[in-house]
């Protein structure tokens, strides 16, 4: 997926979040979105997913401006893991079942069972996590469940918002290596961790103050 932002400006009641901001992301890129808290890093993801619209400027995805149908197409190509750990109610298994029940994801159903088992193992979650209630999980477990939920979609583009903040050092490395080490993945990620896998080229997109 190729993403180009042309001079996007986004303002929330007097405060500029982004001002005349431009960047380009190419397939396979690993991009760390950096900047102090509250600068609008999450807003950038929301703009890219069409949950917020820029006040001026525009975003192009694969050469098409991000409006109308194109927004829905992007949401079907990007796997987004939100910083917000409110990922739903019920058991973990019900969460995965709901994700796979969406019309667009139904073709993944048949292979999902084996896939889930592998992913749980990858992120060091025991198999019985499936039967646990989401509300009973710790922050770190929820983060990993959300990661598995995103990976179930078998997409190649990831927007990851602080997905390792509640994990211990070893798991942090595991998670970041998994995403950043895959050359097929295009990854935009927000993280305050200093850990960076070696041998992987990571671009940095820095958001700074405008006031």
């Amino acid at each position: 997926m190729q993403i180009k932002a042309h001079n996007i400006t986004k303002q929330f009641t007097e405060k500029y979040i982004l001002r005349e901001f431009s960047f380009e992301i190419n397939p396979g890129d690993k991009v760390n979105i950096a900047g102090p808290s509250g600068i609008g890093k999450t807003t950038l993801f929301k703009l890219l997913l069409g949950f917020e619209m820029p006040d001026s400027g525009h975003i192009e995805v694969n050469g098409k401006t991000l409006v109308g149908e194109q927004i829905w197409a992007v949401r079907q190509q990007v796997a987004y893991v939100s910083q917000d750990l409110n990922i739903g109610l019920g058991t973990v298994n019900q969460l995965f079942t709901e994700t796979l029940s969406y019309k667009h994801n139904q073709h993944l159903k048949s292979s999902a069972q084996a896939h889930i088992a592998l992913l749980l193992q990858q992120f060091e979650l025991p198999l019985n996590t499936l039967d646990k209630n989401i509300t009973e999980l710790s922050g770190g477990e929820k983060q990993r469940v959300a990661i598995v939920n995103a990976l179930l979609l078998q997409r190649k583009v990831f927007f990851l918002d602080e997905i390792s903040s509640a994990l211990d050092a070893a798991l942090k490395e595991n998670v970041l290596d998994y995403f950043l080490g895959n050359s097929e993945f295009t990854v935009l990620y927000i993280s305050h961790d200093s850990y960076r896998p070696s041998n992987i080229a990571i671009k940095t997109l820095t958001l700074s103050n405008h006031d």
Binding site: F51, Q76, A79, S82, G88, Y102
Partner: protein, 262 residues
């Protein structure tokens, strides 16, 4: 069995005296609602007196167009009441909620009149207006709860809703869990009422019929029928309300319009 005793002017005066209790209590406790209590009481009296005269004529003429027109006016009042009480703006919701209440209530009341009451004239004023009014009044509360709860919960859990959209859900799929929960919240009170009916309370309609000279067993049969009709209409109307209102409540990108709320 005799017909209900007419209440004389003296009786009505004595009834008004009873109002002194809530008036005294609210003003003593300085709840600041004495004024609205008085206004509501006066409104109720005036409205009911007017409607009393109006219904005399409505029942006398028993004209299909007149009856349906009145039914529609009742519906419009219901729509305004639902929206005022659920904190949603009239502008976006009048049409879908009117459509939802119209279809669900008319369908159920006509079913009631034709298959249950076995009327030859299903638009008979006494049944269309009285039974229709009862059904409408009861579905109203559920709709206020259901519709308000639905939009507020989507607003409150906006992140969760976005999350579902980002997973590839379309609007319907992403809203379904919210709709289910609000649906449950809306019909739960009706289910609870049914479970205690007859023990905790004698329903108003039964009381009316018994005072009007019906034997309790007849009154009970009507009460059962009306409760089932209310439940059916509630389920229908809350589903249709959500279904019909969603398209005008959403932007093309699937986000909720913030201007829906008052």
């Amino acid at each position: 069995m005799t017909e209900a005793i007419d209440l004389s002017l003296f009786s009505m005066f004595m009834c008004a005296l009873l109002l002194l209790i809530p008036i005294a209590a609210t003003s003593y406790l300085k709840l600041g609602i004495t004024r609205s209590l008085l206004i509501s009481s006066v409104r109720m009296m005036v409205q009911l007196v007017l409607i009393g005269f109006f219904l005399e004529y409505l029942f006398l003429y028993n004209n299909i167009f007149l009856n349906i027109s009145w039914f529609i006016i009742m519906l419009l009042a219901a729509v305004v009441s639902v929206l005022n009480n659920s904190g949603l703006k009239l502008k976006f919701f009048v049409k879908p909620i009117f459509g939802a209440l119209f279809i669900s209530n008319l369908l159920v009341v006509l079913y009631f009149n034709y298959f249950i009451a076995r009327l030859d004239f299903v638009f008979d004023a006494r049944y269309l207006i009285a039974i229709g009014g009862m059904i409408l009044g009861n579905t109203l509360r559920s709709n206020i709860v259901g519709l308000g709860d639905f939009y507020k919960s989507v607003m409150r859990d906006e992140q969760l809703y976005y999350y579902k959209l980002s997973l590839g859900a379309n609007t319907t799929e992403a809203l379904l869990p919210f709709a289910k929960r609000s649906f449950k919240a809306a019909i739960n009170p009706t289910i609870a009422t049914m479970a205690t009916m007859g023990i905790v309370s004698l329903p108003g309609m039964m009381t009316g019929q018994i005072l009007g000279g019906s034997v309790p067993l007849v009154a009970i049969k009507y009460q059962i029928a009306i409760m089932v009709a209310i439940l059916a209409s509630t389920v229908l109307s809350i589903s249709l309300s959500i279904l019909f209102s969603v398209p005008s409540a959403m932007h093309a990108n699937g986000t909720l319009r913030k201007e829906l709320f008052k």
